[in-house]
Amino acid sequence: MLKKEMVAMILAGGQGSRLGILTKRLAKPAVPFGGRYRIIDFALSNCSNSGIDTVGVLTQYKPLVLNSHIGIGSPWDLDRRDGGVYILPPYQEESGGNWYKGTADAIFQNSSFIDSYNPEYLLVLSGDHIYKMNYDNMLKYHKEKNADATIAVIDVPLEEASRFGIMNTNEDDTIYEFEEKPKNPKSTKASMGIYIFNWKLLRRFLKEDQNNKESSNDFGKNIIPKMLEQGMKMNAYSFKGYWKDVGTIESLWESNMDLLREDNELNMQDKNWRIYSENHVRPAQYIGPNAEVKNSLSVDGCEIYGEVDNSVLFSGVIIGKNSKIINSVIMPDTKIGDNVIINKVIVGSSVVVRRDCIIGDGKEVTVIGGSQDIKAGSIIARE
């Protein structure tokens, strides 16, 4: 294998249990987002746009949809002669095999994959965040500072800091302390779960961590604190821009709604940093003679015959006559019948909502799981 300077590993094995029924049949990174993407498209596109051509995707929980989506990586320009994208599930060896016990264990079990490219640096990413970032800039910073590890951080409001892993830094951005969900946060620099390590050094820490029976084999809980403890040079790389962890129903809904704001920092229309995804060919969308579409997103394959207000429609969605879709997210291939009111709801993929239903109460986000058939006249809130 040809040598690479940096290899990326995307952690995509989690269930994302807080997304409830939406992850019943697929892993969180495969959850649809933004009208025509899946959450993992952001990490994959960022890699490709940053010039990283060798990416391992660590899968575990229900990976069928994810595997099929990623394929050989062509949509993200990751179908390459040397390198490209690799799906890495847990596997058996002569000595047996283990499910990934934690994020650090997942990387450790794939050490030989990484070694085959003999990289200087390893980029560790999560597959469940919505953001655009040039990892090459972060690598430049890591090299400039001669760091052993660089952790990307983002400024969060002080009132929210207790929800995150907070990095406490010196004047020169070196990290002296790491506090997980601190009650009294000393700084507002939240860890984004994006790390660049010197690979040989990390490999050493991962191996030691394996010998510790008490360890959860987790980067945030075990590896990072251990590195700090042993006096490694760890730098905080400040990221400015839109970043959202869409791990809860509320945040997934909010992040989709954010796309409808004119001043949205994510800037999806920037042709110089496109987010790529698997492309399915459907006829261009059709807006009917009595339809009303306001402040919404819609894509190929959609047919809108009713009212759509402040909502995000995915491919193949049909909205029936006299129906009102408000503040909602309708995932691919869902068919909404006539006279239906949908208010502040995330409707999963391939759902059929028959006529005269009322779903959602406009207060908290209601979720309808994928592939359901909601019979005519149903009234549902929250689910």
């Binding site: 933004g34 009208g35 025509r36 949509p75 004119e262 999806m268 229309q269 496109r274 987010i275 790529y276 995804s277 492309n279 399915h280 060919v281 006829p283 261009a284 969308q285 059709y286 807006i287 009917g288 003679p289 009595n290 339809a291 009303e292 579409v293 306001k294 402040n295 919404s296 997103l297 819609s298 894509v299 190929d300 759509v308 995000v312 429609l313």
Partner: protein
């Protein structure tokens, strides 16, 4: 069965009546239906029937088409064996002489493993099941099967198309041209099914005798020697051979029934994909009875229009009965009625342009020059 069939798409369409849209591209490459190009229909019809080997014969001016076809992947034609081949090295216009292009590339036909050939142009828009047609052709044991449609408004449409003269047994007696002097006509769809050996024979005969410069004219003049039967196609058909028919055919796509038949789920029409963002509708927009492509930003009023991808319709702009090709910008308060704009057209603020339903006005492409 269709693995045993070679597809030959002969781009010999007469572009005289559609020059406004073919100055920089072949007719086969004209964007249609907000998302596709004319050639996508015949390509998809062939591949949906299981044809895995397709040769496209075209004249040289075809960068746009080559770019669209790339390696044939959207139609599953990027294969190790067979797949898509493009023959566009000829300087002769296939509308007048297609024998030269075929003769120069006759090796392709000799080497093809398939026994049968479906020989077609691109300008007949339909969703057709070739499996059934080939079956009937083989059963009838005839030399050539010509596909046609019974048309009842031939005085208003399909002008210039083949008009077949058929007897009660379905044999083709002669082929004329529809000049609009009759209401009823058997419009030939320019689709011929025959054995590959026969096509090679026709090409060799044309070259050696010099009697004909087109495969079609050989066939028209040999109806007494060859056994040529007809097959009636009963679905929706539009022929795109003039600006008028392009405009009319495009507007017909706003009809739900026609749209569903053409873009059926069982036999989908495939095209080159792109990575556009979703279309965005603002609070001020009013959109009725229109087809809108991905990447559009709609801030104004759009009625009965076909809008391709990445078009911006600014605030206060009003578009009625228009076809706006990709990447255009319609300025604030501009008003367009019965207008067709080519790609990358900028219409300035407050500009008013009016065409007529039978005489649409075309605004041609000139990279980012403002009108």
């Amino acid at each position: 069965m269709l693995k045993n069939c070679l597809g030959i798409i002969n781009l010999d369409e007469n572009e005289d009546k559609i020059r406004e849209l073919t100055r920089n591209r072949p007719l086969a490459s004209i964007p249609i239906a907000g998302r596709y190009r004319i050639i996508d229909f015949i390509l998809s019809n062939l591949t949906n029937a299981g044809v895995e080997s397709i040769g496209i014969f075209s004249k040289m001016q075809s960068r746009s088409l080559m770019d669209h076809l790339s390696n044939g992947r959207p139609w599953d034609l990027n294969r190790k064996i067979d797949g898509l081949r493009f023959f566009n090295f000829t300087t002769t216009d296939p509308c007048i002489d297609d024998i030269t292009n075929f003769a120069n590339n006759i090796e392709y036909l000799y080497k093809a493993r398939q026994e049968y050939v479906i020989f077609a142009s691109s300008y007949m828009i339909c969703n057709i099941d070739f499996k059934n047609i080939l079956k009937k052709h083989i059963e009838s044991a005839c030399d050539i099967t010509m596909v046609y449609k019974k048309v009842e408004d031939a005085d208003q449409s399909f002008y210039g198309c083949e008009a077949l003269n058929i007897d009660e047994d379905g044999n083709v007696l002669s082929v004329g041209k529809n000049i609009g002097n009759r209401k009823n006509a058997n419009v030939g769809m320019g689709i011929y099914i025959m054995k590959k050996e026969l096509l090679i024979h026709i090409i060799n005969e044309c070259v050696s005798t010099g009697h004909h410069r087109k495969v079609k004219s050989y066939i028209y003049n040999s109806l007494d020697k060859l056994k040529v039967k007809s097959y009636e196609f009963k679905g929706y058909l539009a022929c795109i051979n003039s600006l008028k028919s392009y405009y009319k055919g495009s507007m017909e796509l706003l009809d739900h029934k026609i749209n569903k038949e053409l873009f059926s789920l069982e036999r989908p029409i495939y095209t080159k994909t792109n990575d556009e963002i979703p279309a965005r509708y603002t609070n001020d927009c009013v959109v009725k009875n229109s087809i809108i492509g991905n990447g559009c930003l709609i801030e104004g009023t759009v009625e009965n229009c076909i809008i391709f991808r990445r078009v911006k319709v600014s605030k206060g702009a009003m578009l009625k009965d228009c076809i706006i090709l990709q990447n255009c910008i319609i300025g604030q308060n501009a008003k367009l009625y019965n207008i067709v704009t080519d790609k990358y057209v900028d219409i300035g603020e407050y500009k008013e342009l009016r065409g007529d339903i039978t005489i649409p006005l075309v605004v041609e492409n000139s990279i980012r020059k403002q009108y």
